[in-house]
Chain length 340, copies 2
Amino acid sequence: MLDTALQDYSHRRYNPLTGEWVLVSPHRAKRPWQGQEEETNTQSLPSYDKDCYLCSGNTRAGGKKNPDYQDVFVFENDFAALQNESPSFAIEEELFKVKSETGICKVICFTPDHSKSLANMPVYAIEKVIEVWQEEYQKLGALPEINYVQIFENKGAVMGCSNPHPHGQIWSQFHLPNEILKKDDNQRRYFSKHGTSLLEDYVILELEKRERIVFQNEHFVVLVPFWAIWPFETMIIPKKRQSSILEMSRNERIAYATCISVLTRAYDQLFNCSFPYSSGIHQAPTHNLDHTHWHWHMSFYPPLLRSATVKKFMVGYEMFGMPQRDITAETAATMLYELI
Amino acid sequence: MLDTALQDYSHRRYNPLTGEWVLVSPHRAKRPWQGQEEETNTQSLPSYDKDCYLCSGNTRAGGKKNPDYQDVFVFENDFAALQNESPSFAIEEELFKVKSETGICKVICFTPDHSKSLANMPVYAIEKVIEVWQEEYQKLGALPEINYVQIFENKGAVMGCSNPHPHGQIWSQFHLPNEILKKDDNQRRYFSKHGTSLLEDYVILELEKRERIVFQNEHFVVLVPFWAIWPFETMIIPKKRQSSILEMSRNERIAYATCISVLTRAYDQLFNCSFPYSSGIHQAPTHNLDHTHWHWHMSFYPPLLRSATVKKFMVGYEMFGMPQRDITAETAATMLYELI
Ligand SMILES: O=P(O)(O)O[C@H]1O[C@H](CO)[C@@H](O)[C@H](O)[C@H]1O
Ligand SMILES: O=P(O)(O)O[C@H]1O[C@H](CO)[C@@H](O)[C@H](O)[C@H]1O
């Protein structure tokens, strides 16, 4: 009964990492769509574009010239949202609270080949990207003025990505952002209650249930979380707790790169397009404190709902009330699983 | 010094209603835009469209026929995300928490005239819409199975609105959604600490500072909140605390309708287009408890950033870290103020 109820009737599911709820309305997947259609990205790109500010050897908007890089290339964002050298100030009034924020923003080109994406890069090339993520997390995290390093990628015009050249970003800063505060709190609480990591216990249960698993190998599992918000939201989770990506061995890095490769390929096949998403890694803050409650993970938040042109809008009710989804996590997981 | 700092350097501002932070990066307003451009909505619509399922007398997708309505028309959503008759169920496991949810979803046509929007409806017609909001809040709220009534509007294709016919929605349900839980909590805490309403105190301070006021009349103020997330986000706030829209007198209703009219007209002028947004009213839950800490307000979350075609994307960093904005609340308020 319960299993069918979850596929047939409206309900709320709880996200134990953030402490927030999502409204699931499975019966609503049938409603007709008369709204905006996105453009499909099926155009094939050249390997080099002389007008792309991320291609090897080209000059960027800020006037700086890229080197002739061969694999991964990192540089400081020319229009950084966070700056390292700015004065410190604060307002402490109860209704007007302000704190100055400093930080460092970087851009990472995944490959010089303008036409690629993670989905069509070989696993060894993805491994190189992961290595650079590790290096940057370590280097930025070693600075006293940085306590959090957010690695992320916006892919596709519909996700506000201003350039199709395969690239991601890193924004690092002193204060913990909202999402990290929530996950820090809830993971700490769980750990002090059970002495085990929330996500390690969760992965064990998911591997038993086998309803939301998309892919797994020795070290990682890829799944649609029980509390997913976006239609085809997924998580890549290390099976054993690690507080940050620094703890990965060489073998684990290959296993992780494999997960990224398998998942992004399945995504591209789902609606036959270069699948848009924002992805990001949530991991321990970098100041030298106790982070044993942290279990790092990577999430993908893709906006598409039922085709390459129809996306899910998180608007009105979602902005004022709570996130809402139509197709269930189980259906989404099955659809992705069948593409692998 | 502090005032200039807020206009020049990255900082975080605190939202006392939600307890969350927004990252403000004023210097970043200068970055060039090479990303997706939205389509502008400048097409003029007919007063009646035979294919519109919201026009008077037309048949809807579900097969039902609209009456020949003359002003405001409300009906139950044919593809409701919440249903009133569904079984009750729950899962209580720590990592798999589920609760069935019931509710009632309605659609409100603001006028039979397909070509209008709130911005070009007369104040008396907006007042009629407000009256229906009051009626529905009262009627739905009187049901034992409803404890929260979310009134909202998604306007424009970019906000997932599937039909240009001027309309809004009401989703009502038993459990309090995430956003309401936060605002309930923070308003209650403030009220028990000070014996006054958070927003009443806030409005007094804003009216002294006069940096973020867009418009005011005897009963209401329209402002860009200090902690605004969206580039041209605004709030309409009653000057005296009222826990819900039911407490408005006839005169207050006219004053409120005037604010909506003035604000939506300014929005349309800002980038010379039918300005897209999601708007919504946050107010007290409807079960008969003590809601004296609640101060109702209406917010507008418009996505446009710097023209009718360039919107702000809340993606990567915003999804994984926290909301981020470029132009400051003060700049946005000045731009809107000058259009009134
Ligand atoms: O109900 P509509 O207009 O079809 O749908 C729109 O508003 C809903 C409520 O905010 C959202 O859940 C949908 O994603 C959006 O497309
Ligand atoms: O940095 P980009 O790619 O120019 O900009 C994109 O990513 C940023 C970080 O998620 C967002 O703040 C911007 O709204 C988005 O357009």
